[in-house]
């Protein structure tokens, strides 16, 4: 059995649920969102990632209706949403601060949106108890927000925004305040909810691991612009720029000049006198162009002897070892002073590890392990 692949962004027929068309947002003379165009499809779990102040919250607030674009248009299901006030949008936002109503019980907080829709008492009862069950909050229904823990509050905020079964749910750093365990639990809960309800999620996060876990696609933003939108795997394996490569995960960046050597194969001259590095890539580069080779530490193999037949091998000295329990990262200094990180799984006890500080080691990787990025 093969599951149908969920990739509406590759389907030219598919119409996006949300469309930003050349949206610019300025606060005074400060540009928070800069000529941004993007489409988000139905049933997507879309993650926004970027440094603080890059405009993620502003983007969400424009979708929810609390800010209006200075220029450009936003479409929801093909309709321009500029004239639609926040209370008339089929969009619900889960605020980073939760924004729970302190004077209402958990039950009433969750029922708040349903009551505004004028649903019947019985309908509201069932919907609220469904939401309470989903977020495992049944025991706290009668309490006020200040009588429950931070993690429980976060789930109330989630339940409240989910209760109206919106077409689109915006989550602004929804898990920021949770410990790792609870965060992971809730991430899976979110994905589960998404699967069950078919809601489209847009989630802002500072935690790239979170984005990788939950998202169907990840958008990396910087200074009000989207730098790259792709699936988590593509963002990680095939970043389109050194900015994205550097922002997502750990990476070694080696600068050099490119020389084509054959069919989609290039030599990267990175140090005077050093052996050029071999890279295979589908992207075309011209002779003499400067570029960066981005290579993830876990794709670099560390060994005592020069391995036979490796596409690339360099010799260096172990400068530092970061022990992370399941893996260790070796910082290896090459004679030229460049430091390259290599990661290995700790399959042996720490006392028996093969390399230690000051050891001379060889680092090697294949021609396709890294990505060559133009500047």
């Amino acid at each position: 059995m093969t599951l149908p692949v969920f990739e509406p962004w590759n389907d030219p027929e598919a119409k996006p649920l949300i469309e930003f068309q050349n949206v610019t947002k300025r606060f005074g003379d400060f540009t928070a969102i800069d000529d941004l165009t993007i489409g988000i499809y139905e049933r997507e779990f879309f993650a926004l990632l970027g440094p603080s102040g890059c405009g993620k919250t502003t983007l969400m607030r424009m979708l929810a209706g609390f800010e209006t674009p200075t220029e450009g248009k936003i479409f929801l299901s093909g309709q321009d949403i500029a004239p639609v006030p926040p209370n008339k949008r089929a969009v619900n936002m889960m605020f980073q601060s939760y924004a729970l109503f302190p004077h209402l019980s958990i039950w009433d907080n969750i029922a708040f949106g349903l009551k505004r829709e004028g649903q019947s008492k019985a309908e509201i009862e069932t919907r609220v108890s469904d939401m309470l069950r989903l977020t495992r909050l049944e025991k706290f229904a009668r309490r006020k927000p200040h009588q429950i823990s931070g993690g429980q509050r976060q789930r109330v905020a989630l339940a409240r925004s989910l209760a109206k079964a919106p077409k689109l749910l915006l989550l602004d750093e929804p898990l920021g305040a949770l410990d790792k365990k609870l965060r992971q639990d809730t991430q899976f809960e979110l994905m589960d909810i998404q699967e069950k309800t078919g809601t489209t999620f847009v989630i802002v996060t500072h935690d790239q691991e979170e984005a990788m876990t939950v998202a169907s696609r990840v958008a990396v933003m910087d200074n009000g612009k989207i730098i790259q939108v792709a699936t988590p795997a593509d963002i990680y394996e095939a970043p389109n720029s050194t900015y994205v490569a550097d922002f997502i995960g750990d990476v070694n960046l080696i600068e050099g000049t490119v020389k084509p050597t054959g069919d989609a194969t290039y030599a990267l001259h990175w140090r005077e006198g050093a052996e050029p590095l071999t890279v295979k890539t589908a992207t075309g580069f011209s002779d003499g162009q400067t570029a960066h080779l981005a290579i993830r530490p876990e794709k670099v193999t560390i060994s005592a002897e020069r391995p036979d037949g490796a596409d690339n091998a360099v010799e260096g000295k172990v400068l530092d070892i970061a022990y992370l329990g399941n893996i260790s990262t070796y910082h290896v200094e090459l004679p030229s002073g460049v430091v390259i990180k290599a990661q290995t799984a700790n399959t042996r006890r720490i006392s028996r590890r093969a390399f230690t500080w000051e050891d001379t080691v060889w680092l090697s990787w294949t021609a396709t392990a890294g990505v060559l990025l133009a500047d």
Binding site: F95, S97, F112, G113, S161
Partner: protein, 293 residues
């Protein structure tokens, strides 16, 4: 020991400035009727002892209060005036407090200053100023005549209307400040959340803003209601002969009729009347403090 010393200071203060005077007033209210002639009988005498002294105290002055309908009418009319002025003050004060809380950050200190500014002038002088404004030849009538809104000067001074104007004017800051404090503390994102969940601006106001400023509203109402109930200066300067307020009656009993025992009885009843709202006020404050913890 040190803690005890610290706590005892406010209690001693209360004892000296509230309980002792109250005991004196209570004693006078239970004494025999005697016009303008302290000492009031009975008096404590070491020779006959405490019991003889106590057994001579009686409630005749309180009984008297029930016999002349002036008193209960005055209490009732005071309650009525206090109630409606509180309502009017709330109606005037809430929008002002709301506007202040919504104003840009850098304006708020100035607006607050403007609310407090009248306190720089003596209360008495400000009430006298209202006499100048409200009288038949006052500024208000002149302005209205000049504008052609009216042909004849309106009689406002020496009516209950003038009393309401005076009370609302005087106690407005006491209404604005607690409501402003409650509104300013409120998180704006709550309103956005309400709108996000389908509220219009107006229903967000009723469902979120008002309930969250409730403690401020209650505090403001008590801060206006309690002093207005016993108010004397405003009704006697701005009110007319038919303005009946217990503060005025009290003053007349003390200083015109010079019937201190009856006057003391009036005062004791007024205090009992005030205890109810004061206790309610205290509970409101306590509840609010608990909610904030």
């Amino acid at each position: 020991m040190r803690r005890f010393a610290l706590i005892s200071i406010p209690y001693l203060w209360l004892l000296a400035l509230f309980l002792v005077p109250f005991a004196i007033v209570l004693k006078i209210s239970l004494s025999d009727v005697a016009l303008a002639r302290p000492p009031y009988m009975p008096q404590f005498d070491w020779a006959t002892g405490l019991w003889a002294f106590l057994s001579e105290l009686d409630f005749e002055n309180f009984v008297w209060l029930t016999q002349d309908d002036l008193y209960w009418k005055a209490y009732l009319s005071s309650l009525q005036i206090a109630f409606f002025s509180t309502l009017l003050t709330l109606l005037a004060g809430y929008p002002i407090a709301y506007g202040m809380a919504r104003a840009p950050e850098e304006w708020r200190a100035t607006l607050m200053m403007l609310v407090i500014l009248p306190f720089w002038t003596s209360f008495l002088i400000r009430v006298y100023a209202w006499m100048g404004i409200l009288s038949n030849e006052g500024f208000l009538n002149q302005a209205l005549l000049w504008l052609g809104v009216i042909n004849e000067p309106l009689t406002i001074l020496n009516t209950n209307t003038a009393v309401y104007i005076g009370v609302v004017y005087t106690y407005l800051p006491f209404m604005i400040l607690p409501i402003y404090a409650a509104l300013e503390r409120m998180d704006d994102s709550l309103i956005e959340a309400a709108e996000d969940l389908g509220c219009s601006r107006l229903s967000a106001f009723w469902l979120v803003t008002v309930p969250l400023s409730k403690s401020g509203i209650v505090a403001g109402c008590f801060l206006v209601f309690i002093p207005t109930l016993g108010e004397f200066v405003i009704p006697s300067l701005l009110g007319g002969s038919d303005t009946l307020m217990i503060g005025k009656v009290l003053w007349e009993e003390f200083f015109s009729n010079r019937d201190w025992p009856v006057a003391s009885a009036v005062a004791v009843v007024l205090l009992l009347l005030l205890i109810v709202p004061i206790v309610l006020f205290q509970r409101n404050q306590q509840k609010q403090q608990e909610a904030e913890q």
